[in-house]
């Protein structure tokens, strides 16, 4: 894959190489098209609005978390604690509006139910960020701490019980519709636009890419590396908090043991499929959404065609390895 390819080798293998390159550069879109065509041909009742709603509401949570993950990966880090933060924020929200205070003052209770869990999520982000940026702990290990204990805290808070509730205002987060499409779909779009502006139009965004591209060079040229790293973990945790609350709102119940379980894998997979480089230096925000759609569609396709959940796990493993392999090849 060097300059030779472009200087025009006579005939021979050249068209094939171009095909490969095309596949590598637009692999995500090609994969999406293949899956969609497959579903239209094979899956019964695929072309219906209902399917679209289901997929949007399921993709939204993965996409929101994956965008945060993309920001972390862009600095060369990784955040394993996203699922646990989802569980924590998701467990806190109903606790607050179901409490005596929340029942007595519904409006205050509801605003606290939105703001306090997000505050807790940001606290988790600050914890991760401090460990990575200030104590220089590897991101895998640093976020492993909350990966283990975050869900534990959520389960301690709820005594390990399922909390069901009926609160139309809160549930709007997961079941509301604007212009006929699910609210969380619009929320995802809004977050994506904000984040991509952040990445492409602000100094912080350029710093993020600089840190991921070459941390030492960035530091030497005056980039506040610690602040940037701290910032991306805050963003990832904040977005995870939102996603956790959406899941709770969809189900009208919070289950600390299952909310966000294995979400870190989905989010990493979505980010990587969307074009994020694990070494850092790239932050394709809309790519993360594309990746989330692909991951979710594969899951949907397998389940809708009667493939067992367990086999779907293996399929996900193959997708992750395949996507990373294609990336490595592209880089070399």
């Amino acid at each position: 894959m060097s300059a030779e390819d472009t200087t025009g080798a006579p005939l021979g293998p050249r068209p094939q190489i171009d095909m490969l390159r095309l596949l590598r550069q637009n692999g995500g879109l090609v994969a999406l098209a293949v899956i969609l065509l497959f579903n239209i041909a094979v899956t019964p009742n695929f072309l219906q609005m209902q399917t679209l709603f289901v997929i949007i509401s399921q993709v939204a949570t993965i996409a929101i978390v994956a965008m945060g993950m993309t920001m972390v990966i862009a600095t060369g880090g990784i955040d394993l604690s996203v699922g646990a933060i989802m569980a924590l924020a998701g467990a806190l929200a109903p606790l607050i509006f179901l409490s005596e205070f929340g029942q007595a003052y519904p409006v205050l209770g509801l605003s606290a139910a939105f703001s306090l869990p997000l505050g807790a999520a940001r606290l988790c982000g600050a914890f991760n960020g401090a460990l990575v940026a200030i104590f220089r702990v590897q991101s895998i290990i640093a976020t492993l701490i909350l990966f283990i204990s975050g869900r534990g805290i959520a389960q301690v808070l709820t005594n390990g019980n399922l909390q069901t509730f009926s609160n139309p205002a809160f549930s709007y987060l997961g079941t509301g519709k604007i212009l006929g499409l699910p609210f969380q779909g619009w929320l995802t779009l809004g977050i994506a636009i904000l984040l991509s502006l952040l990445v492409t139009r602000t100094v912080f965004g350029r710093y993020v890419l600089a840190v991921g591209g070459n941390e030492r060079a960035a530091e030497l040229s005056g980039v506040p590396v610690k602040r940037v790293k701290f910032g991306v973990y805050m963003i990832a945790a904040f977005l995870s908090g939102i996603a956790g609350m959406i899941v709770v709102a969809i189900n009208s119940a919070s289950d600390a043991a299952r909310n966000g379980n294995l979400m870190e894998l989905d989010a990493i997979a979505a980010a990587v499929v969307g074009g994020a480089l694990l070494q850092g230096g790239r932050a394709p925000i809309f790519g993360a959404i594309l990746g989330a759609i692909i991951i979710q569609l594969v899951k949907y396709t397998l389940l809708a065609n009667g493939v067992e959940d367990e086999v779907a796990l293996i399929a996900k493993a193959v997708i992750i390895v395949g996507a990373v392999y294609l990336q490595q090849a592209r880089k070399e």
């Binding site: 104590f135 640093a142 701490i145 367990e310 493993a317 992750i320 390895v321 392999y325």
Partner: protein, 331 residues
């Protein structure tokens, strides 16, 4: 080579934490002996060693991987997979089930090695995929239910009986494996290469060390150790358990870190990792005793929180010491 002589002072100055973990282990044992009368009872010791033998062997495999600067997240799922394999093979006896199940674990290690070395996929992602694959595989071959072992054969002997009536067979076997791996690490070119890779992969390659071979070796070892843990699981609990193994990779990583192995690779040892795994197990053993006395109330949910807090404390401890160690190298 002075590798054959143990220079205690050099060892301590090189890796103070590996000494700290032995001191902490000793202190906790003394504490337990003084505070709880059943602590030294045969039942507690046997069940403690039986249960923790799985975590010890996985931690030692993980130690090899981390020494090269890699990570193996697949160990828990692989152990679950091999426990199912071992349960299916148990009618043919331990002498058939044990090697074949360990071989299955090594097979997963080989998949990791191929992905990491040939396809150049980062260890974290490659082993994450194997984790999913092994979990899916375990659920598929078991039909998502526990597989009972054959109680008529000698298979359950390993997890439930004692060698010469003293120590459980599981811990005897695990210790034999540990000693073998320790010798490999300290006294063979392969082991020294493993350490060198963690110190600097490019430098090791330039020095002509067989980096690819040593890297493949550590993932095969880790897979094999996970395989053995799966056999112990099936043998000790009388069933192959496809849903077990969740979070085992974390316990293993924590044990390795507690034992003073640097997560960036290059520094660490087998005995210190064993001590780290024992220390981690002992903390929970003591907390259970304390729970039994009623001084603290300790639900399973708290266990996760405590495990995270413990890992946090150890990491803070290590960042201080590893900063010191790095300075030591420079001066």
């Amino acid at each position: 080579m002075d590798a054959y002589t143990v220079d205690l002072r050099r060892t301590i100055s090189k890796n103070p934490q590996s000494i700290a973990v032995w001191v902490a282990l000793f202190a906790l044992i003394v504490f337990g002996l003084l505070r709880y009368e059943n602590f030294s009872g045969a039942y507690n010791i046997t069940s403690f060693l039986n249960y923790n033998s799985m975590f010890i062997v996985i931690a030692v495999g993980m130690c090899f991987v981390i020494l090269t600067g890699g990570i193996d997240l697949s160990v828990g799922s692989v152990a679950a997979f091999t426990s199912v394999i071992a349960a299916y093979l148990s009618p043919y006896g331990l002498e058939v089930a044990l090697p074949l199940a360990v071989l299955a674990g090594i097979g997963f290690g080989a998949i990791n090695a191929v992905c990491i070395i040939l396809l150049r996929i980062p260890p974290f992602i490659a082993t994450l995929a194997t984790m999913l694959g092994a979990k899916g595989g375990a659920l598929v071959i078991s039909g998502a239910s526990t597989i009972s072992v054959d109680w008529g054969s000698n298979f359950t002997k390993m997890g439930m009986e004692k060698a010469m009536g003293v120590l459980p067979w599981s811990i005897v076997l695990v210790m034999a494996v540990n000693i073998a791996l320790w010798v490999v690490m300290e006294h063979t070119p392969l082991g020294r290469t493993v350490l060198a890779i963690g110190g600097g992969e490019d430098a090791s390659t330039l020095m002509g060390l067989k980096v690819a071979r040593a890297t493949a070796f550590v993932y095969l070892v880790s897979g094999g150790c996970a395989g053995l843990a799966g056999v112990i699981l099936a043998s000790g609990f009388g069933a192959g358990q496809p849903l077990e193994g969740i979070g085992w990779e974390l316990s293993a990583i924590a044990s390795v870190v507690v034992g003073g192995t640097l997560l960036t690779g290059g520094l660490g040892s087998v005995p210190a990792t064993v001590a780290g795994a024992l220390l981690l197990g002992l903390v929970f053993n003591l907390l259970n005793f304390e729970n039994g006395r009623g001084t603290i109330s300790f639900s399973a949910d708290w266990q996760m929180v405590d495990r995270g807090a413990f890992l946090f404390a150890v990491i803070l401890f290590q960042t201080r010491f590893s900063a010191g160690a790095k300075l030591g190298v420079r001066s």
